[in-house]
């Protein structure tokens, strides 16, 4: 199962459809708080990899800067899933964010306007 976390479903549905078409089961969640609950749940044990946005609204207990919510979620995800692949798919253009993810192991960073759904699905299939 691929857990897909992004607050704007509208802009990821093509990616989700493409992943589904090549055979992945995709679980979509639109916020980090619910996603965190999910990874701790019984169902969450089926997660093979996650697709993660970076700039997302946040509620209590998360970073005080929207542009870094994804980073904080990533760190918490790694506590439960240290080796699973993480595909960061975002519109954030900040270099510090990009650098952070590029330094992580088993982590792949792409901007949505740089990678099209078909190409992205292929990449997930390769590294998942």
């Amino acid at each position: 199962m691929i857990l897909f976390i992004d607050d704007e479903k509208r802009y990821v549905k093509n990616y989700i459809e493409e992943l589904q078409e090549i055979g992945f089961e995709v679980k979509y969640i639109n916020n980090v708080a619910d996603a965190l609950e999910f990874i701790k749940s019984e169902e969450g044990k089926q997660i093979e990899s996650i697709v993660l946005d970076v700039m997302m609204p946040f509620d209590k207990g998360f970073a005080s800067e929207e542009a870094k919510v994804g980073i904080e979620f990533y760190k918490r995800f790694r506590e439960f899933f240290p080796k699973n692949s993480v595909f960061v798919l975002t519109n954030v253009s900040r270099e510090d964010v990009k650098e952070f993810f590029e330094e992580q192991k088993d982590c792949y960073f792409d901007r949505k306007d740089d990678i099209m759904p078909f190409e992205f699905a292929k990449k997930v299939k390769t590294f998942c």
Partner: protein, 762 residues
């Protein structure tokens, strides 16, 4: 510790100064100059510095202290750095030494104090040079030079530190008969003052000063006290030897304390003095026959008046001595105490500045962690009040789009009047109002209390004629543009001036405002950039899918993808408008077509249909036909700018979707035409049944970048500009209005459109 080399040099200088033979190793450690070296290090916190004295009378340069711990630097100094104004008369000359005329020009500074001179420092290959004139009985005796290999930020605090050293140097160099016996007492006092630790340092300084003053005076049976002056209240407070909560408060008046503070010189009186009985009504209690009051003052404190810096004394307190004997006190007693009282005053000022700087740094840390602009400004304003004791603070920011400067936060007026003040305190940048002028001139100013540039209405309404205040421009470090002003002041009473040292701290607060705005701009730019990329990614994604699969897809599915692309293009257009608004670009002029438009059918319904897929993407069921009564569709037929008005309904609907009740499966929306309530306006009542707007935020939702905490709880993204732009369009372009009519169940916005546009405008 100084190197052996420097100790040898110091010994020689000491011998030359005192004409005393060199002492044993044990005694050497206690020489006054060794002590002085220690003091330099203690007071300046500078590791590598040197003090020389240029003796104009003897035409000698004396290296009087070094705090260097650097062997190499010491050697360099020994070889090279011997300075004298008339270089050729010296045992060792130095080509690039300051010339006598340079010293003269340095001493011509208005305050008669020292000056730093980066040019001279550079010439010596050093980072810092400061020269301070040494005067005895108002006669110039020489200069004390302070050098450092470290970059030193020239501040009021450092200047005070050097003045403290200079005072000590005066005593060390020019010790006379009177001082022979008192030198050790004074040194002990200075050492103790420099080593004060813990809380209430200022009170401790005053108590130590009193204690050593008594020792220096060496008089039997005198009554003494030290009193602290509070500039804010005008009260003089007596400090007991041991802190006591019942310490006496004395109002500022006509007594000797007040005379000494106002006259800025010691007052010596006895029971034969003409004013004794009028003033000294308590004399009989202690049998006092004579009295001496020594003022504790920061002399030549820089103050700001209009655009200029002038000088005034800042009162700190008084030392009071009384005796049962007549004529007990003389001018010589005053002279004996002068070095100690000057040092104490300088130390108090230095501590006050350090405390203020430390508070500024604390507030900076708080502002750094605060995301909300209004809250950040509140922290800054409150910080100014606490740190600098200003009673009135007004932080205003420039609104580039409206070309106005508007108060954001005001402190020091009654809570119930704040809203009124905020409404009144908005001025055109091209007006003659003082704030507009500060934005243009970018200069700090302390205007006269009845300056003609003050807004008279505010001046009268809020009793500003009683204030003395300073205006500090807030200047962006990126653009060098003035982006706002900080106005701060207090009631004119015992505080008559705005001190330059406080203005320096106030500039630090202005820096916090700039940092906050720049951080916020960066965050907003991040968001806008993100909001622009999202629809672009959507369009590209749909095109990619269409290219790959269109042959396999049914026509209806291809239409869905094409509609998605169309909507993303529309979203992109709105997001670009937000970017233009952020950049301060004016809105395009409204374009009114040749034919009238049915607002409900051609704009409202069209927008709803266009955004239907956005509603469905959120997982709601939505029936377009239930939103508008069929009869209303043709009710408003006017000449208007279709695109601009469309943007208003787009923003309203996007907000309804973002703040929809996620627990409901149905998205409910009602748009009703009311053409009866108001004679001159159609009202379109735009209702949704979302999470609503809390009472606290009702007045804030139209503010730039406002996002309620619910936005995060609902996981709603966005820039917080939609409603701001919509209201601006309604007011500026449509000549109508956008009002929040009901905050929940349903949340209702009223879009007011002038009926006069039923006819084509000329």
């Amino acid at each position: 510790m100084p190197t052996n080399n420097s100790e040898t040099t110091l010994e020689k200088i000491y011998a030359r100064l005192t004409n005393e033979p060199l002492q044993s190793a044990e005694q050497k450690r206690n020489t006054p100059l060794k002590e002085f070296t220690r003091l330099v290090r203690l007071l300046t916190n500078t590791h590598t510095c040197l003090l020389t004295f240029v003796d104009l009378q003897k035409e000698q340069v004396l290296r009087i202290a070094s705090s260097s711990q650097d062997q190499e630097f010491e050697e360099y100094l020994d070889k090279e750095l011997i300075i004298h104004p008339n270089g050729e008369n010296l045992r060792v000359s130095f080509k690039t030494a300051p010339k006598i005329e340079e010293y003269e020009s340095l001493s011509l500074q208005k305050d008669g104090g020292g000056v730093s001179n980066p040019e001279i420092a550079k010439r010596f290959g050093l980072k810092y040079f400061y020269s301070h004139p040494i005067k005895i009985d108002e006669k110039l005796k020489g200069y004390l030079n302070f050098f450092s290999t470290e970059q030193v930020q020239f501040s009021t605090s450092l200047k005070l530190q050097i003045e403290i050293i200079s005072k000590f140097a005066e005593i060390q160099i020019f010790q006379n008969e009177v001082w022979k016996n008192k030198n050790q007492t004074l040194k002990d006092a200075i050492e103790e003052l420099a080593n004060i630790k813990g809380e209430d340092k200022i009170d401790q300084i005053l108590r130590i000063t009193l204690e050593y003053s008594k020792k220096l005076l060496s008089k039997n049976e005198i009554f003494s006290s030290v009193l602290k002056f509070d500039e804010k209240t005008g009260m003089v407070q007596e400090l007991k030897a041991i802190p006591d909560t019942n310490e006496k408060l004395i109002p500022f008046g006509n007594g000797y304390y007040s005379q000494a503070l106002i006259g800025e010189e010691a007052v010596i009186r006895d029971s034969n003095s003409v004013d004794w009985k009028d003033i000294y009504i308590d004399a009989w209690q202690r049998g006092t026959e004579s009295e001496m009051v020594i003022p504790l003052l920061i002399k030549k404190e820089q103050i700001r008046f209009r655009n200029n810096i002038v000088f005034a004394s800042r009162p700190i307190g008084v030392l009071n001595f009384e005796s049962r004997s007549l004529n007990e006190f003389t001018q010589e007693d005053v002279d004996i105490l002068l070095p100690l009282t000057s040092q104490a005053s300088l130390l108090i000022e230095k501590l006050a500045i350090e405390r203020k700087n430390s508070q500024l740094r604390d507030i900076e840390r708080q502002v750094l962690t605060e995301q909300n602009q209004k809250e950040s400004l509140k922290i800054i304003a409150e910080g100014i009040r606490k740190t600098l004791d200003f009673e009135f603070i007004n932080i205003s920011l420039v609104d580039d789009s409206k070309k106005t400067i508007n108060t954001q936060i005001v402190v020091g007026i009654e809570e119930e009047n704040v809203e009124k003040f905020l409404q009144m305190a908005s001025h055109s940048l091209s007006s003659k109002d003082i704030q507009a002028e500060i934005v243009r001139s970018k200069k700090i100013e302390v205007p006269d209390d009845n300056d003609s540039r003050f807004d008279r209405a505010i001046w009268k309404e809020f009793r500003h004629k009683y204030l003395i205040r300073v205006f500090v421009p807030v200047i962006s470090s990126l653009t060098n543009k003035c982006v706002g002003t900080i106005e701060a002041g207090y009631q004119k009473g015992f505080r008559k001036h705005i001190y330059e040292s406080d203005i320096q701290i106030l500039q630090g607060f202005a820096g916090l405002v700039v940092a906050m705005l720049e951080r916020q701009n960066s965050r907003i730019l991040d968001k806008i950039s993100h909001e622009l990329r999202s629809p672009i990614a959507g369009i590209l994604g749909n095109i990619d899918r269409l290219k790959a699969h269109h042959r396999d897809w049914e026509k209806w599915f291809i239409d869905v993808k094409l509609e998605d692309i169309e909507l993303d293009c529309e979203i992109l257009k709105h997001n670009i408008l937000e970017l233009e608004y952020f950049l301060g670009r004016p809105f395009p002029k409204p374009k009114i077509g040749d034919d009238p438009i049915f607002v409900m059918k051609d704009i409202v319904l069209k927008t709803i249909k266009q955004l239907k897929s956005l509603i469905e993407d959120e997982g709601f069921y939505f029936d377009v036909n239930s939103c508008i009564d069929r009869e209303d569709l043709k009710k408003i037929k006017i000449y208007t700018d279709k695109i601009q008005l469309g943007r208003v309904f787009y923003n309203l609907l996007v907000n309804s979707i973002r703040y929809a009740n996620k627990n409901s499966k149905i998205f409910k929306l009602k748009v009703i035409v009311d053409d009866e309530t108001e004679k001159d306006y159609f009202i379109i009542r735009f209702q949704d049944w979302g999470i609503g707007i809390k009472e606290d935020y009702k007045n804030k939702i139209f503010d730039d970048y406002f996002r309620s905490p619910e936005a995060n709880a609902q996981f709603v993204s966005g820039t917080g500009l939609g409603l701001t732009i919509s209201r601006a369009i309604m007011r500026k372009d449509i000549k109508g209005d956008l009002i929040l009519a009901n905050s929940s169940n349903p949340t209702e916005f009223n879009v007011k459109i002038p009926k006069r546009y039923e006819k084509k405008p000329l």
